[in-house]
Amino acid sequence: MTTDTKTIALEVPATKNKASKSLWQHAFSTIVKDKLALVSLIIVGFYFLIALLTFLGVIASNWGVEVGPSYAPPSAEYIFGTDIFGRSVFLKMVKGAETAVAIGLATSFIALFIGTTLGALAGYFGGIVDEIIVWFYTTFSSIPFIMLLVAIAFIMGKGTSTVFISLGVTSWVGLCRIVRGEVMKHKDREYSQAANALGAGHTRKIFKHILPNITHVLIINFSLTFEAAIKSEVILSYLGLGVQGRPSWGTMIDDSKLELARGVWWQLGAATLAMFFIVLAFNILGDALRDALDPKLKGK
């Protein structure tokens, strides 16, 4: 035995001076190495920063102030021109980032919460619980998204929280389905079985073993939901169910359907541009995350 213990030291040589990396750190470093993904990450971070700053009132709090004549076209003075009240379209666009980020976050968290909870319950417990949840989401998903949105708006009335909730409540099904599948898979994985053999209870198995292993799915889904929510807000605004009392890209685009014919394209332009970059960034980031976080590509 003694000789053996000596040779052991030899066995783990390569990792000695390298800091140990979890899969997360690994994923992060992978993303940072991918230039396009890094740029996307920076863009997303930038939008979040803007949103935070507008939320705190550091910037764009004066978006409602008249800065020039009504419908002034873009110029050196008015970067993206002005709207009907002579407000700066640029500031509205900036303020819109706050709305967009708020919608994205709220929607994704609501969807995440419902989807994960139901999916995990169904996948983990199986049997009748599973059947009921599957029935529930099958039912739910056979109702068109737009109808659900409208229906929820009917119940809840108007307002920003309605937008959050209706988008959140309509976005969980996909995630639920995936989580259910993943949980089922992981439940039968040998490490879960090992935990079982150790006498681990349900809570421990779900929260310590299974959920941490599907976080990549959650993160990828989070980014997709986030991006989809920002886009859905436009449709909601068009249907008159959008956010109120503060600028959003959706209402800017909706406004522009009247303005375009008189040649006022800058609200549409600014909102589309603002939306374009964050949606694009989220898409690219989503792909990169998928590559970086998918455990299939790691370890072995």
């Binding site: 249907l239 109120q244 009392g245 209402t251 406004d255 009247l258």
Partner: protein, 564 residues
């Protein structure tokens, strides 16, 4: 569009809203009303070329005989008027209209099973009609044969109305779509589908309404001899070119239902639409200093500006005691800069409203200036202090409800900004039209931004908006209930048109204005663009039947085609 037969005169117009169907008793919605008026007719109509509005007989032979007490109205109806041909009639040939058809049509309006949206015009007005309605409400089948005292066909061509109490505005209801004549055979044949099978007496026919976005009317071949008017008010003298010609003047009318304004405006600019109300946001492109812009002028397009019989106003819900504070209301009124709003939202084309009754209707005093109408920030602040809320302190945040449309939203934001100047906090809550309506009807809001368009050209139609018994779900959505006002209003309503009544109207109108019962905004004007080849167009709020008077200069149209 496809090439149209050159010899055929085809009028292309736009309806900016969906058409709900062709049942006259449902014609309270403006856009459906206009379509219904192409096919159905009533006893009376407005003279096409007179201003102020003048009622003239249409299916009636002449204006009615009115008894001295103002209770009995006797009509002779025109002979030889035929219903349009339809399979519902023997051999498919439309029969002659009789007095009993009017009795039937008006009973249909009163039949509670029909849930007619126009019932209000007769509610409590004709003797025995309400009783008939209530009695039949609980019967499985409505008994149309039962006689109603206030509504009788004395013979084939004589029709007699008896009012419950004097109500001179009654005649206006006979010019409204609701009382148009329908035939019971057609109603019986199509049942619920009657709404899609319009068979009237009017100038145009539509075999079947299929819910399409393109409604094509053709000339009614059995239309009676109806002629283009030969007399006109001074401002319409230029429209007498077709005087004495048999109506209708164009062979075919195509109505394009276009809910979104962008495509409609683009289509008009291509010459595919003959006239078009200018959307607010196309205004700058179209009009400068009340003149048409160069590009459009080159195409020969003509601009018509005409006042509308309407008023926009911001109303309070008086169920909320907060608004019983007159000074608060006045302060708000003073803080609001209507001139600027006019510029932003109406391109400076609207008339600032001093009171509720619009100009052109007896009761409006052109000289009157409302002392509480802003902007006067200094005074507003003082008044607000007098109201007990210096600089808005102690005043809760007020929720301002608006219908959700791009423009309403912008208006709401504007109102919010204005009130902020004197320290009043406003929260905007936008809802789609139906929900907005529900809020009004349920009295659940605090403040609303709304507008009222005239049903008929009489101050009563505006003043009743503040008549206590009309509270929501009635038209008085502010639930204003002032016994003094109520009493005088009731009195005015009974009076025949006279200087005394006008004086009373003026008084009531001013009272409402001075009290700042609502914050009156503007009386809008309609801006209509016409193609150079369109003839006889006059803008009007009440002439839903205008299409029969319109004409096209096909040669001119061909000539202009290259400019498009």
């Amino acid at each position: 569009a496809k090439k149209q037969d050159a010899s055929e005169r085809v009028l292309n117009i736009v309806s900016p809203a969906e058409i709900k169907g062709y049942d006259p008793i449902m014609s309270d919605d403006l856009y459906s009303g206009r379509e219904i008026a192409k096919i159905y007719e009533g006893l009376l109509a407005y003279h096409y070329l007179k201003m102020p509005y003048e009622l003239i007989p249409n299916l009636a032979e002449a204006m009615p005989e009115v008894s001295k007490d103002g209770i009995t109205y006797t009509f002779k109806i025109r002979k030889g008027v035929l219903f349009q041909d339809d399979a519902a009639f023997p051999n498919g040939k439309g029969r002659e209209v009789e007095a009993s058809d009017f009795v039937y049509s008006i009973k249909r309006l009163a039949d509670s099973k029909n849930q007619a949206s126009g019932w209000w015009i007769l509610d409590g007005k004709l003797k025995g009609l309400n009783e008939w309605r209530d009695k039949n409400a609980n019967l499985p089948v409505t008994n149309y044969d039962e006689e109603v005292e206030g509504l009788k066909a004395l013979d084939k061509y004589t029709l007699q109305f008896k009012l419950a109490k004097p109500f001179p505005q009654f005649l206006y209801s006979l010019a409204m779509g609701f009382t148009s004549v329908v035939s019971k055979e057609v109603v019986a044949k199509y049942g619920k589908e009657f709404i899609n099978h319009p068979v009237g007496t009017g100038p145009y026919v539509l075999p079947k309404f299929d819910q399409g976005k393109r409604i094509v009317y053709t000339k009614n071949p059995t239309f009676r001899e109806k002629l283009y008017p030969s007399d006109a008010s001074p401002e319409y003298q230029n429209l007498l070119g077709d005087a004495g010609k048999k109506l209708p003047l164009v062979d075919k009318v195509i109505v394009h239902v276009m809910v979104e304004s962008q495509p409609a405006w683009l289509k008009f600019n291509k010459g595919e639409i003959d006239y078009f109300g200018v959307p607010k946001d196309n205004f700058a492109t179209a009009v400068k200093d009340n003149k048409i812009s160069g590009e459009l002028a080159d195409k020969g397009i003509v601009l018509t500006i005409s006042p509308q019989l309407d008023v926009t106003y911001t109303s309070f819900n008086y169920d909320n005691k907060l608004f019983h504070n007159t000074n608060l209301r006045r302060a708000m009124y003073l803080a609001y800069d209507e001139a600027k709003a006019n510029e932003l939202f109406y391109n400076n084309t609207a008339f600032p409203a001093q009171s509720i009754v619009p100009p052109g209707i007896a009761g409006n005093d052109p000289a009157y200036k409302n002392q509480w109408k802003g902007p006067n920030i200094e005074l507003a602040k003082k008044t607000l202090a007098a109201a007990g809320y210096p600089e808005g302190k102690g005043l809760p945040e007020i929720v301002y409800d608006i219908p959700d449309s791009t423009t309403s939203r912008q208006m709401g934001e504007y109102f919010q900004k204005q009130m902020e100047q004197i320290g009043i906090k406003i929260k905007i809550s936008a809802s789609p039209w139906p929900e907005f309506q529900a809020k009004l009807k349920k009295r659940s809001g605090q403040m609303f931004g709304i507008a009222w368009g005239a049903d008929y050209p009489d101050a009563e139609n505006f003043l009743q908006l503040f008549y206590g018994p009309n509270s929501a779900p009635g038209a008085n959505s502010s639930n204003y209930n002032d016994p003094k006002f109520n009493k005088e209003f009731e009195q005015a309503v009974m009076m025949q048109d006279s200087p005394a009544r006008t004086a009373l109207y003026v008084k009531l109108n001013k009272y409402i204005a001075e009290e700042a019962v609502s914050l009156f905004g503007v009386h809008r004007q309609a801006y209509t663009l016409q193609q150079s080849w369109l003839r006889n167009y006059r803008a009007s709020d009440l002439h839903h039947d205008n299409v029969q008077y319109l004409n096209l200069d096909t040669a001119k149209k061909e000539e202009m085609a290259k400019k498009f």
